[in-house]
């Protein structure tokens, strides 16, 4: 009886000891081990979702092309439909859903290539979302009619925000170099950027590579992300 009791409690002790032995804390740091695994897992998920998104975007583009074709066909039958289609196209251009071309400027930005001054803040040598916002705002002030960042159309409600080492807009993440395409009067657009004390001067001070190029013809893609108005409704009069 006594032996049985000792055996029983020894079994409990051995059970617990084995659990401890098995746990990864004895192999190496568990917090790092598990979190690395988790990070890898999440990274895979992100990669998978981004791939899926790319596929869906391609599909969407196909559908849009088909829709344009159908609208054109419908317009051939009746002048009324033709008129409506014309209005729809105008509205699309205004909303930024149409690919546009025209004269404009291309701004190419990259992080500083200058050697860092000892003790200075590394952030001063990087392109930040404020820089991009400032350039986009200047371009709009100078009458830019369509602006795209790295091939993504910027709409009226597009945000440009900081995402750690990247810059995030509505649907995309971007890393340098940043390419801003803007359609408008090339001379005016260039002038507002390179005016004394303007964004060009400020960024050049830190050695950030900024290049403003006037273009005779530049293409700005249409916006292809979702356009949802969940709260705003037209006012009925």
């Amino acid at each position: 009886m006594q032996q049985l009791l000792i055996a029983f409690f020894l079994a409990i002790t051995a059970f617990l000891a084995m659990l401890q032995f098995k746990s990864p804390s004895n192999v190496n740091d568990p917090s790092i081990a598990s979190s690395l695994e988790r990070i890898e897992n999440l990274q895979q998920q992100v990669t998978g979702l981004e791939q899926r998104k790319q596929e869906l975007v391609e599909e969407l583009k196909g559908h849009q092309a088909r829709m344009a074709e159908l609208e054109k066909q419908g317009g051939e039958d009746s002048t009324y439909i033709k008129h409506l289609t014309q209005q729809l196209d105008d509205a699309r251009i205004l909303a930024g859903l149409t690919e546009l071309e025209g004269p404009g400027v291309q701004v190419i930005l990259n992080d500083s290539d200058r050697e860092m001054i000892e003790g200075s803040n590394v952030n001063a040598y990087l392109v930040h979302e404020q820089d991009l916002l400032s350039i986009v705002n200047d371009l709009k002030a100078a009458g830019a009619e369509a602006v795209a960042l790295n091939g993504q159309r910027l709409l009226a409600n597009t945000q440009i925000k900081c995402g750690g080492p990247t810059i995030i807009t509505d649907t995309e993440r971007f890393v340098p170099p940043f390419i801003i395409d803007a359609i408008g009067d090339p001379a005016t657009l260039e002038a507002i950027l390179i005016q004394p004390g303007g964004i060009y001067d400020i960024l050049k001070y830190w050695g950030i590579q900024i290049n403003v190029k006037k273009m005779d013809k530049i293409t700005v893609p249409g916006y292809y992300g979702p356009v949802n108005f969940r709260y705003a409704k037209p006012v009925e009069r």
Binding site: Q2, Q3, L4, L5, I6, A7, F8, F9, L10, A11, I12, T13, A14, F15, L16, A17, M18, L19, Q20, F21, K22, S23, P24, S25, P30, S31, S34
Partner: protein, 118 residues
Amino acid sequence: MWLPILGLILGLALGYILPVNIPTAYAPYVSIAVLAALDSVFGGVRAWLEKKFDIEVFVSGFFGNAILAAVLAYIGDRLDIPIYLAAIFAFGTRLFQNFAIIRRYILKSISGKDKIED
């Protein structure tokens, strides 16, 4: 004498096979509890060899020591006092003492000077 060893093997096997995992946050406290439990078991073996084994003392000591050690270690962590060191000293020292006494009994029984009935 074989029953406790059987229990040891059974416990190890169960712990190895069963898909139970201790959350890493509690691992230090469980290890202190294991030390306290081990001390109780050695104490029990010794008492049994000395024919002074008392079930109530053994069972209460087993659970009491294990839980107290774990709780004290936890409180110590919260208060930034390494109380678990006290548990390690207390139980560790006693564990070796008990083992020394058990060793003497076993050696005696092997040499046949003082036979212990099974």
